[in-house]
C-alpha cells in the first residue's frame, strides 16, 4: 500500500514539475508574443505580479502578500523592459528552451548565494547567533572577514597561501590522472574486442559504488601493516633484494603521506567517470577520418594527435572544467581517509579547512567569506580555461 502511495506521490511531483515548466514557458511565451504592444507593459505590470502574489499566498509562502507583490512588481518591470529593449523578440526558441533550466538553477542557487554574501559581510558566530534569530539583524563587519581569510589560516601549521598552493597541486594531479587514465581505458575499450560491455561495466565499479564504502575499503588497503599495498611491497622487497636496496619497502601511508594516499584513492575513484565521458566522445568521431588517414599512411600516434584529440575536445572540455571545479571542492576522500573527527591537517585542502572553520568553530561569517573567495578563484580559473579552449578552437 505504501509502495503504491509512493509511486502516486512521485508521479504527482513529476506532474507538479511539469506544470511548473508549462507555467514558465507560458509566461515567457506571452512576453515574446506581445512585448512590442503598447498595452503589454502596463498589463504585465498588473497581471503577472498579482498572479504571482496570489500563488505565494495560496502556497502559504507569505502571510502578507503585499511585500512579495512589490518584489514581483519590480522584477516584472525589469523583465518586461529587458524583453522590450534587449531581446526584442529574437531567438524566441532559444530562450524558451533555456527558461526552465535556468529558473530551476536560480531557485536552487541564487538564494543560498545571496545568503552567503550577506553573511560574509556581517559577523555571525556562536555569540551572535541568537541575536540574529531574534532580531533578524547582525553586526556589520565590512570586509573584515575577507581580510581574515587572507591573513589568518584556519589551520595551525599551514598558511592560507601554502594551502592554496597545495589545493592547486591536488587539483592538477587529480584531474591530470583522471583524464590520462580515462583516456587510456577508453582507447583500449574502443577496440573491437570481446567482452567489451562486460569490461566496461566492471571498470565503472569505483564510480558506481557508494563512495563512503569505496573509500573506506581503499583506505584499509593502505594500512601500514595489513593493507594489500604494503604486503605486496614487503613481498616484492623480499623477492628482489635489489629493489629493497633502492628503498622499496613498507610505507606508513596514512601517517607519513596522508595527502599522497588521498590523491591515489581519489584518482582511483575518478577515472571511470572520465572513461565513460571519453568513450562517449569517441563515438562522435566519424570513422571516415581514420580511413582517410590510413590511406595517407599515418601512424597510430599521428592519428591520435591530429584526429582523436582535437575532435574529442568539445566533449572532453566540459568534463575537464567541471572535474577541476569538483576536485577543487572535493573533500569526501580527505575527510574519510584522514579520520572523521578532523584528522591530520597535512592532508587538508582549502575546502576541508573551510569546513573546519565552519563546523568546528562555528565561524559562519568567516567561512562564508572563505567560500566566496573559493568561488571567485574557481570562477577565474574556469573563465581562463574556457578562454584558452576558445583560442585553441580558433587556431584549428
Amino acid at each position: 500500500m505504501d509502495i503504491i502511495y509512493s509511486i502516486y506521490e512521485v508521479l504527482w511531483f513529476a506532474l507538479i514539475v511539469l506544470m511548473g515548466i508549462a507555467l514558465i514557458e507560458g509566461y515567457f511565451y506571452y512576453h515574446f508574443k506581445f512585448y512590442a504592444r503598447r498595452w503589454f507593459f502596463p498589463a504585465a505590470l498588473v497581471g503577472f505580479p498579482l498572479a504571482a502574489a496570489a500563488l505565494c499566498r495560496a502556497l502559504g509562502l507569505a502571510a502578507d502578500p503585499v511585500k512579495p507583490f512589490l518584489w514581483f512588481l519590480g522584477s516584472e518591470a525589469l523583465i518586461t523592459l529587458f524583453f522590450r529593449h534587449i531581446v526584442k523578440g529574437r531567438n524566441k526558441l532559444a530562450y524558451l528552451l533555456l527558461a526552465p533550466a535556468f529558473i530551476g538553477l536560480a531557485l536552487l542557487l541564487v538564494y543560498p548565494f545571496i545568503f552567503e554574501i550577506y553573511l560574509s559581510f556581517h559577523d555571525l558566530k556562536l555569540t551572535t547567533i541568537m541575536q540574529w534569530k531574534n532580531t533578524g539583524s547582525l553586526p556589520f563587519a565590512g570586509i573584515r572577514q575577507y581580510v581574515n581569510v587572507f591573513t589568518t589560516s584556519p589551520l595551525s601549521e599551514v598558511t592560507f597561501w601554502a594551502l592554496l598552493g597545495r589545493t592547486l597541486w591536488w587539483t592538477f594531479i587529480n584531474v591530470f590522472f583522471h583524464v590520462a587514465g580515462g583516456f587510456t581505458l577508453a582507447l583500449l575499450l574502443n577496440n573491437n574486442i570481446r567482452f567489451k560491455g562486460f569490461y566496461r561495466t566492471l571498470l565503472v565499479i569505483p564510480w558506481a559504488m557508494p563512495q563512503v564504502v569505496a573509500v573506506l575499503a581503499m583506505r584499509g588497503e593502505f594500512h601500514s601493516q595489513y593493507g594489500f599495498i604494503n604486503i605486496m611491497l614487503v613481498k616484492l622487497a623480499a623477492a628482489y633484494p635489489i629493489l629493497a636496496g633502492l628503498g622499496v619497502g613498507p610505507v606508513q601511508w596514512l601517517s607519513n603521506y596522508p595527502l599522497t594516499t588521498c590523491t591515489l584513492i581519489n584518482i582511483w575513484l575518478g577515472i571511470p567517470f572520465m572513461m565513460v565521458v571519453i568513450l562517449g566522445g569517441l563515438q562522435s568521431i566519424s570513422s571516415s577520418y581514420y580511413d582517410a588517414a590510413d590511406i595517407d599512411g599515418a601512424s597510430y600516434l599521428q592519428k591520435l594527435r591530429y584526429i582523436t584529440i582535437p575532435l574529442i575536445r568539445p566533449v572532453l572540455m566540459p568534463a575537464v572544467t567541471l572535474g577541476t571545479v569538483w576536485t577543487f571542492n572535493n573533500i569526501n576522500v580527505i575527510y574519510l581517509v584522514t579520520g572523521q573527527s578532523g584528522g591530520t591537517e597535512r592532508a587538508d585542502i582549502l575546502v576541508s579547512a573551510l569546513y573546519k572553520a565552519a563546523f568546528t568553530y562555528n565561524r559562519y561569517s568567516y567561512s562564508a567569506a572563505f567560500a566566496i573567495v573559493i568561488f571567485a578563484m574557481l570562477f577565474f580559473i574556469s573563465v581562463f580555461y574556457l578562454k584558452s579552449f576558445d583560442a585553441a578552437k580558433e587556431e584549428r
Binding site: A22, G26, L55, A58, I129, S156, S224, Q225, Q252, S255
Partner: protein, 411 residues
C-alpha cells in the same frame, strides 16, 4: 499549435494554484506532541522505543505522542542548529555533552535548573553538563569513559600498573606470538587525556588550555616509548584497526570506551576481561578518563506550558526502574545516584569495574574551548608521534595554537 499551447498554459494556472494549496502538509507540531531527536547507535533504538511506549501507557499520558527521529552525531548538531534558527527545533535532544557547550553558548538550549533536582544524580555527570554555574541537561546515563579491555585467553587478570603490563608484554605476549601486546587509538587525543592525568596534568583549567606542561611532554614520551622503543603498540592504528586486532585475537589489551562493552560481550562471551586503565608506575597516579554521559537537552524554543510535560517525560525516562533496565539492556551505567547503588548494578562484575573506573575519572568539560583543544592536540600529537616534531616543540605549539583558535572563535 501555438494557440493550443498558450491556452493549455493559461488553463493550467488555476489548476496548479488549487492543487498546491491542498497538497501542503499539515504541521504535526502541537502541545501534546514531544519531538525527540537522538544520535544513538542503531542497536539502542529498540530500547528507547520501549521506554517511549511504556511512557505512553501511563494513564495521564494518553494524549501525548512522542516522535523520535534519529540523526548521526554530526547531523544532529547541524540539523539542530538549522532547525533552531528556522524556529522549528525539536523539543528535546538526547546526545552526549560535547555539543552542549556550543548549544548553550549560542542560546539554542535552555538551562534545566529548577526542572530537576540535581542532587539526585551522580556528581561527575552533573559537573560535566555544568557551564557558568548553570545545568544544561538532564543526565540519562553516566559514562562514555575509557577503560581497559583484555582477552582472557592471554591474560587472566588486568595488570594493576604499567610495570605489570610491560612485564606481560615482554614475556607472555611474545610467547603467544601476538602481533602487538596492546593497541589503542593513539591519534585521537581523547585516548591521550587519561594518560595525561596519570602524569599529573589536565588539558583545560577553567576555560584556558593547559597543554604545554611537563605532564603533557611525559605523556607523549610515554606514547613514543610504547610505539618505537618497546614496540608494544602498533605504529599506525586507528579505532577500526584496534577493534579488528582485538577481535581477531592479535592483541591482548585494548583501551576502549564503555560503549563497546555490549558488542565485545557478544563477540567474546567468557573471554572478555575488563579492568581499570593501569596505574602509571613512574608517577604512581591512576589514569583519569574523561567522564560524561548522555543527556536530554531542552530547546530554548519550547513554550513554557509544555515544560511540565517534558519534565514528566524526562523524569519517567530517568527513573530508577528505567535506569536499571537501561543498564541491563545496554550496559550503560545509571546517572541517578539511587540506581547507581542498586544491587542489580553493584552486583555485576562489569558494572563494578566500570564504576570504579568512573570514580577514577574526571568530568569532561563542556566549555566550547574544548573544541580548540581537541583540534590542536590532535594535530600536534600526530606530528610528535610520527616524529615530525620534537616533543617540546609539539607541546609548545599545541598550547599556542589552542589559545589562538580560542581567541579567533570568540573574536
Amino acid at each position: 499549435m501555438k494557440r493550443i499551447f498558450s491556452g493549455v498554459a493559461l488553463a493550467l494556472l488555476p489548476v496548479i494554484l488549487f492543487l498546491c494549496s491542498c497538497s501542503r502538509p499539515k504541521s504535526p507540531l502541537d502541545a501534546s506532541t514531544i519531538i525527540l531527536w537522538e544520535q544513538e547507535d542503531a542497536q539502542v533504538a529498540p530500547y528507547i522505543d520501549s521506554v517511549l511506549a511504556a511512557f505512553k501507557k501511563l494513564p495521564e499520558n494518553k494524549a501525548i505522542r512522542v516522535v523520535r527521529t534519529h540523526y548521526q552525531t554530526e547531523d544532529l548538531r547541524s540539523q539542530f542548529q538549522s532547525a533552531s534558527l528556522a524556529g522549528v527545533a525539536p523539543d528535546l535532544i538526547m546526545c552526549p555533552s560535547d555539543t552542549a557547550g556550543l548549544f548553550a553558548v549560542s542560546g539554542f538550549i535552555r538551562p534545566v535548573d529548577g526542572l530537576i533536582d540535581a542532587s539526585k544524580y551522580n556528581k561527575t555527570v552533573i559537573q560535566a553538563i555544568t557551564l557558568d554555574g548553570k545545568i544544561w541537561g538532564v543526565p540519562v546515563s553516566n559514562g562514555n569513559h575509557l577503560m581497559l579491555f583484555f582477552n582472557r585467553k592471554y591474560s587472566k587478570t588486568a595488570p594493576k600498573d604499567t610495570d605489570e603490563l610491560f612485564k606481560f608484554c615482554a614475556a607472555e605476549a611474545k610467547a603467544y606470538k601476538l602481533d602487538f601486546c596492546m593497541a589503542f587509538d593513539m591519534g585521537e587525543p581523547f585516548w591521550l587525556m587519561p594518560w595525561l592525568a596519570a602524569f599529573g596534568g589536565w588539558p583545560i583549567d577553567n576555560k584556558t588550555p593547559a597543554l604545554d606542561t611537563p605532564a603533557m611532554r611525559s605523556a607523549i614520551n610515554f606514547y613514543l616509548d610504547l610505539k618505537y622503543n618497546r614496540k608494544y603498540a602498533p605504529p599506525e592504528c586507528d579505532y577500526n584497526c584496534m577493534d579488528s586486532l582485538f577481535k581477531e585475537g592479535k592483541t591482548a589489551f585494548i583501551i576502549n570506551g564503555d560503549w563497546a562493552i555490549s558488542g565485545y560481550q557478544q563477540y567474546f562471551k567468557k573471554d572478555l576481561g575488563l579492568g581499570l586503565m593501569p596505574k602509571v608506575s613512574s608517577t604512581g597516579l591512576w589514569p583519569a578518563p574523561m567522564v560524561s554521559g548522555k543527556y536530554f537537552m531542552i530547546s530554548s524554543g519550547v513554550k513554557p506550558e509544555k515544560l511540565a510535560v517534558l519534565q514528566r517525560f524526562m523524569e519517567f525516562y530517568t527513573n530508577r526502574d528505567n535506569q536499571i533496565r537501561q543498564f541491563k539492556e545496554l550496559q550503560r551505567l545509571p546517572a541517578l545516584a539511587e540506581a547507581f547503588r542498586a544491587p542489580e548494578i553493584t552486583g555485576a562484575e562489569i558494572a563494578r569495574v566500570s564504576m570504579e573506573q568512573i570514580s577514577k575519572g574526571r568530568p569532561m568539560s563542556m566549555a566550547t574551548e574544548m573544541r580548540a583543544i581537541w583540534d590542536s592536540a590532535r594535530n600536534y600529537l600526530g606530528l610528535a608521534t610520527s616524529r615530525k616534531l620534537s616533543v617540546e616543540d609539539a607541546t609548545r605549539k599545541m598550547q599556542e595554537n589552542a589559545a589562538q583558535k580560542i581567541s579567533e572563535m570568540n573574536r
